[in-house]
């Protein structure tokens, strides 16, 4: 097997390694129970978001005063028309939940990508140039770490006012520090490696070497941190929407549905309960998936938090 791989051409070899990896990965996924659960949960949410138009039974914003606060279908007084009941304006909760999944995922993923871009850029610059720039950067990290994420988000929202894009910006800004620290650390250790010194000695551009060797090294922890970041970002988005500072009507978010339901918790428990379950399951799925990815990608576990 081993001699086999060394005999093959480089291209053939890398292809074989890759297909081999895919196989071991899927095998490992099935072996890890939580990984499988996470994978299924995430797939389910993606499915909801992708086919919201088909899955929704009603227009999610259709107000129907005649059907206010109807309980879920299986309870007394519920109707099969409204699977999860209706809210205080008679809107169908199932349909609102289905559409809400879109915002949660969209905001979560976009914000994390945004944070990743800022973080990687800052981390490379700080690690690469070092000196006073790096010192300023480390103080900046300290400053960001001493402001709770939600507080920073609130401050920015108080300045720019609520809105989807502001929200994505806000969530990105609260998250970039993690990436910047990771990349900076990797760049610093990279600079000390023999092959970088050697490459520099024969005149290869330092920057080129860094990019070529940095990216593969950072990729695994990057994916792991990103996955877990999506989970925390979804919670933060829901929190802000719950406070009325995140997603604004007519856009629908789980945090917003929860916020509507809060006032009726004494009489209509389902309003606040279902979106919370949806958020919890989604986050749980992402955490499980992230943990599994960490076990697979980063066996040293150096990025355990």
């Amino acid at each position: 097997m081993q001699t086999d791989t060394t005999m093959a051409s480089p291209a053939e070899r890398s292809r074989r390694i890759r297909s081999n990896r895919l196989l071991t990965w899927s095998r490992r996924l099935l072996r890890s129970k939580t990984g499988t659960v996470g994978f299924i949960l995430v797939l389910a949410v993606l499915f909801l978001a992708a086919f919201a138009d088909v899955l929704a039974t009603h227009n999610p914003n259709e107000v129907n005063p005649a059907l206010m606060l109807k309980p879920p279908a299986w309870l007394e007084g519920g109707s099969s028309q409204h699977l999860l009941g209706t809210d205080h304006l008679g809107r169908d909760i199932w349909s609102r939940m289905v559409y809400g999944s879109r915002i949660s995922l969209l905001v979560g993923v976009t914000a994390v990508v945004f944070a990743g871009l800022i973080g990687v850029a800052v981390g490379i610059v700080a690690g690469f140039y070092g000196g006073w720039l790096d010192r300023v950067f480390m103080r900046l990290v300290d400053a960001f770490l001493s402001i709770p994420n939600i507080l920073l988000a609130l401050v920015i929202l108080s300045v720019f006012g609520p809105g989807v894009w502001t929200l994505i910006f806000v969530l990105g800004v609260t998250n970039w520090v993690n990436y910047a620290r990771l990349v900076r650390g990797e760049v610093l250790s990279m600079k000390e490696r023999e092959f970088v010194k050697a490459a520099r000695a024969i005149g290869v551009k330092n920057r080129m070497v860094m990019v070529r060797h940095l990216l593969p090294n950072v990729m695994s922890p990057f994916i792991v941190i990103s996955t877990l970041s999506v989970a925390t970002t979804i919670i933060l988005e829901a929190s802000l929407s719950f406070l009325g500072l995140g997603i604004q009507p007519p856009d629908i978010s789980w945090g917003g549905i929860l916020s509507d339901g809060r006032d009726y918790v004494a009489t209509s428990w389902w309003l606040a309960t279902f979106p919370g379950i949806a958020i919890t399951l989604t986050v749980l799925g992402i955490i499980f998936l992230g943990d599994w990815l960490r076990d697979v990608l980063d066996p040293r576990g150096q990025n355990r938090r």
Binding site: P148, L154, V155, S239, L243, V283
Partner: protein, 305 residues
């Protein structure tokens, strides 16, 4: 010891400077607040006059200098909603927030310590698996939703605790529990893994070879050692706990900083927002300092510099 504390206090200054700069820059970008301060039918002349008298027509750096000058005197400007200086307003709310945060911390630690130790000494026992499951769900649940569910179950259905407000010990239970859950999950996880590592150390074997009861070995020799990472993680969670109080306060109408801040964000009362950010940042940095000092007291190997 004293010189170490002074050194650390000195390190706080650049961090606070950076925070002040970020906050100021945000407010500057937000634009002229004068329009919000004056009646809607105010003339352009009135606006210009007030702008000039507040120094808002001066260059960025000049304004920042003045801002800093006022800042060191504890002057964040006047809240236009309450028409009084912002800092006293914020400080007045601080005790309520601290009460909640401390109660949550104490509750979390008292839940997590026995659970973490038990999970570590009886790996893969039902308690261990239950604790692991509880931890991950505790992490996945949005704080505010847990709060609402607790209200639903313990206030609405069982009627054991008041729904909201502050006053008696009964008022404190549900918000503290809400806030403590996520924290307890984090601490349990950490304590379990550090205890497992410590119980495999040579000095634990030495303690056993002395004929000491296993319970004593665990509590005296192992637990003392795991206090060191425990203190670190609790300190790192301060930021999360304080962030959590902001939302939890809203859910339970707890009259603390969070309520004040979120109102201020809604009304764009920037003086209060700024004062809140500073008070919270100082609190978080201070807690990290306390943790560092505790760390040094717990571990004789670390010397004060």
């Amino acid at each position: 010891m004293a010189s170490y504390i002074f050194k650390r206090l000195g390190e706080m200054i650049p961090v606070l400077l950076i925070i002040s700069f970020i906050v100021f820059a945000l407010v500057f970008v937000a634009g002229n607040p004068v329009a919000l301060m004056l009646p809607e039918d105010a003339s352009q002349e009135d606006i210009d006059q007030l702008t000039a008298s507040l120094g808002l027509d001066q260059p960025f750096l000049v304004q920042y200098g003045k801002y800093l000058f006022h800042l060191v005197q504890g002057e964040f400007g006047e809240s236009f909603r309450y028409n009084t200086s912002a800092l006293p307003l914020v400080l007045e709310r601080l005790p309520a927030t601290l009460e909640l945060a401390v109660a949550a911390l104490v509750l979390a630690v008292t839940m997590a310590i026995p659970l973490g130790i038990w999970s570590a000494t009886k790996q893969n026992s039902p308690v261990d698996l239950l604790a692991a499951g509880g931890s991950v769900i505790g992490k996945a649940m949005p704080n505010f939703w847990l709060g609402i569910m607790l209200i639903l179950i313990f206030s609405v259905m069982l009627g054991w605790f008041p729904v909201s407000g502050r006053g008696t010990l009964g008022h404190l239970v549900l918000p503290a529990l809400t806030l403590a859950t996520g924290l307890a999950a984090e601490i349990t996880r950490l304590l379990r893994s550090s205890m497992i590592e410590i119980l495999n150390q040579d000095y634990i074997r030495t303690a056993r070879s002395k004929g000491m009861r296993e319970g004593m070995v665990v509590y005296k020799h192992a637990f003392r050692n795991s206090l060191i990472p425990l203190v670190t993680v609790v300190a790192l969670q301060t930021s999360t706990v304080v962030g959590g109080t902001l939302i939890t306060e809203t859910v339970f109408s707890w009259p603390g900083l969070g309520q004040l801040l979120i109102q201020a964000v809604h009304t764009r009362d920037m003086a209060i927002v700024q004062a809140c950010v500073f008070v919270i940042a100082v609190l978080v940095i201070f807690m990290n300092l306390v943790a560092d000092v505790l760390y040094r007291l717990l571990d004789p190997r670390i010397k004060y510099e």
